[in-house]
């Protein structure tokens, strides 16, 4: 490399680029994170208030109306028995995927760039699953009896039907919610202890942190236990993650419907979930970086650059699986499937099919190949947003549009969304609201992980060259 600059400048350049090479005293970093939690402007409270009102109206009031009047206020009808409710369920589970993917897989493979944003991603898992839960319960005709789907011992010995993919789904999502919440909580403990020690006595926050930190003091034994537990969880949660979205896909793939009965749906759904989830992570990071104090130190263009590469690869994989799903169905030559494929592209909702391909494939490929572009937060935010729009379109095509075509042409009818549009907006508002609340209550940056990474990295001189060295801590 013909780098003629003096090496001190090269060193400065490296420090500026990489968080891991730009260490900061631990006390100061802790203060920065605490400050980011405590700095709230009037704009924060304005958005918070508006979202609260939206959640109260669109989610809870409208849901109440639907419970009292019946599902008739929604748009679901004879062929499209499942509408936007199921679209949103699959969408939110997809969003929740990337949290664990980024955190667990990158932790297992010791990818150093993960350190500052694992928590931001893990929070998405838990909050996304909550919205998925809302969406699936809302779609039930008699939600007040939903506990019947749980295997609760009762005097009549009535059990849920374990032959039903919906029962598998419920178990898989519950497992994922519990394990991902524990996986979120474990690396949070040292940071909660940090926050506890920096909160004045007599405040409710002190009580909050003291209870949640479980008396963590940072002894050698506590760290060993934490590392062991994290190691087990990071490995164990990966198969759980894969199982969840394949089982969600089985809700469709196990059915006898044209367009649904596809053996590739399992991996296709997993890669689709990662696609939308990565887009969501990048959106969250761009917003956090742009709106919260001190975050420009922690979240840097290098992180967008690294996630952008992952997004590009996932977009290519998604395109391959889409093609695979399409070609297998088309090649099969079943007349109803052919009718359905034609309906996807040339039906009245054909714009959605092309929009899906543009948002999921064309735009990511056109932008993410360029290192400079994918390092630009606002640009990659837009890409992430469009990927999420495209993935929502994909689920909309799979659920209500595919349901329009069945083997009884007499019943074909278009689906027109009703109250479920409000309910979907309500879940989105609730997701953002939970995230905003969390950003002011718990440290969004895993401080101890960043500090650990910075301790492990060092710049050394090898002759005249400055070399980055990493020592293994774990």
């Amino acid at each position: 490399m013909a780098d003629h600059k003096p090496h001190t400048s090269h060193e400065e350049h490296l420090r500026e680029q990489h968080l891991m090479l730009d260490p900061m005293p631990r006390g100061k970093m802790n203060e920065m994170v605490m400050e980011s939690m405590h700095t709230t402007s009037w704009k924060f409270w304005l958005v918070f208030g508006l979202l609260s009102a939206l959640v109260a109206y669109a989610l809870f009031y409208k849901w109440g109306v639907m419970i009292l009047e019946g599902l008739g206020v929604a748009g679901v009808n004879r062929p499209s028995y499942w509408g936007i409710f199921l679209v949103n369920t699959v969408f939110w589970i997809g969003i929740s995927h990337a949290g664990t993917f980024i955190s667990a897989i990158l932790r297992v493979f010791k990818a150093e760039f993960r350190r500052p944003f694992t928590r931001a991603a893990e929070l998405m898992t838990t909050f996304g699953l909550i919205q998925a839960g809302f969406s699936i319960f809302m779609h039930m005709g008699r939600v007040w009896l939903s506990y019947w789907l749980m295997p609760i011992p009762n005097e009549r010995q009535l059990w849920p039907n374990f032959h039903s993919p919906l029962s598998w789904d419920l178990l898989a999502i519950t497992t994922y919610l519990l394990s991902s919440t524990m996986y979120l909580f474990l690396p949070l403990i040292p940071d909660l202890a940090m926050a506890r020690d920096r909160t004045p006595d007599g405040t409710w926050q002190k009580v909050f942190y003291r209870v949640l930190a479980l008396g963590f003091r940072g002894t050698e034994g506590e760290w060993t236990h934490l590392r062991n537990a994290l190691n087990i969880f990071a490995f164990a949660i990966i198969p759980v993650m894969f199982s969840v979205h394949t089982i969600v896909s089985w809700d469709f793939a196990m059915a006898t419907r044209p367009g649904w009965n596809s053996t590739i749906f399992g991996p296709y759904f997993v890669i689709g979930a990662l696609h939308s989830g990565m887009g969501a992570v990048v959106m969250v990071l761009a917003v956090v970086r742009g709106t919260m104090k001190n975050m420009k130190y922690f979240i840097r263009p290098e992180h967008f650059e690294a996630i952008g590469k992952l997004m590009l690869i996932i977009s290519m994989s998604w395109a391959y699986f889409f093609f695979n799903d399409y070609i297998v169905q088309w090649y099969g030559g079943d007349k109803w499937t052919k009718e359905l494929l034609h309906w996807h592209e040339a039906g009245p909702m054909g714009w959605m099919w092309f929009g899906m391909l543009i948002c999921n494939v064309a735009i990511p490929w056109a932008i993410l190949w360029n290192k400079k572009w994918r390092s630009t937060p606002w640009l990659i935010f837009i890409v992430g947003l469009l990927i999420n729009v495209g993935m929502w379109f994909e689920r909309y095509i799979i659920v209500p549009i595919s349901l329009t075509i069945n083997r009884m042409p007499f019943t074909w009818r278009l689906y027109q969304p009703g109250i479920e549009v409000w309910l979907g907006i309500g879940t989105l508002a609730f997701f953002i609201l939970l995230y905003m609340a969390a950003s002011r209550l718990i440290p969004l940056i895993p401080v101890w992980e960043v500090q650990e990474g910075q301790m492990a990295h060092s710049l050394r001189k090898y002759g005249r060259e400055t070399v980055v060295t990493v020592s293994e801590l774990e």
Partner: protein, 252 residues
């Protein structure tokens, strides 16, 4: 000695499933599309009256419907036969395994596919998975006269033998199971078997053209079994392996 293969879950069970117990034959040559079966079924089974807007949006709740098809564009239209479509009472029903609450069950005694209304939680998975699209969902409280005062008069003529369903519940054709039970109880009290033609379903009873025949499909000498052996006999979507118990007689 005869062994009940169903109890052993043996290969023979498939043969039994294919045969079934109660069956129906619909002669499409005789059907005039008059919809008397639709009206009779609604009266017999307390099927909700869905108003115009909902019905126009694909939410009408009839357990039997008369499908009509045509070829060509107006005015060169050629009508093909009417096709009454109701639950095919599949021997291997796709709706049954997908219900998470066991609300869609197979009656072992009658070999009929039944919906347990008070167990249904309304996931609507069964209706999605029904290739015949013959299940209907209570989108609203259509039967509650407190919600809809205009149905108070209709409520006076509910059939007392059949449940009134509330919102959020799936329902479907039962082959008039209340009539089956009534006939069986009567025969039992008189110490005999139910005779062929002793009773029939509401749709078959109402059909002015006698296009619908109902009876024991497993008794070779019964009228319905004889008709089902006709060379015109066909089953809907047989390729899916659902083992439907309703036989259609094609145009001859």
């Amino acid at each position: 000695m005869t062994v009940d293969l169903n109890k052993l879950h043996a290969v023979g069970a498939i043969a039994e499933e294919a045969e079934g117990k109660w069956g129906m034959v619909i002669d499409m040559d005789l059907c005039t599309g008059c919809q008397a079966c639709v009206a009779a079924c609604a009266m017999e089974n307390n099927i909700p009256y869905v108003e115009e807007v909902d019905a126009g949006y694909g939410r009408s709740m009839h357990w039997i419907r008369t499908e009509r098809f045509w070829e060509g564009e107006y005015p060169e239209v050629k009508m093909s036969a009417y096709q009454p479509m109701l639950c095919q009472q599949c021997g291997k029903a796709p709706c049954e395994p997908v219900c998470p609450a066991f609300a869609t069950v197979h009656s072992q005694a009658e070999q009929i596919n039944l919906q347990v209304y008070n167990r249904c939680v309304g996931t609507r998975y069964c209706a999605n998975n029904c290739p015949y699209q013959v299940r209907s969902f209570n989108w609203r409280d259509y039967q509650d006269s407190r919600v809809r005062p205009e149905i108070t008069i209709l409520a006076n003529q509910f059939n007392p033998d059949v449940t009134v369903r509330r919102r959020g519940v799936m329902e479907k054709c039962t082959f008039c199971i209340q009539r089956i039970h009534k006939a069986q109880d009567k025969a039992k009290s008189e110490g005999r078997e139910v005779e062929d033609g002793e009773f029939t379903t509401a749709c078959a009873q109402a059909c002015p053209a006698n296009a619908i025949t109902f009876g024991r499909i497993d008794h070779p000498e019964s009228l319905v079994a004889q008709l089902a052996r006709s060379p015109r006999a066909a089953h809907h979507l047989e390729e899916l392996g659902t083992l439907p118990r309703v036989t259609y007689l094609k145009e001859g």
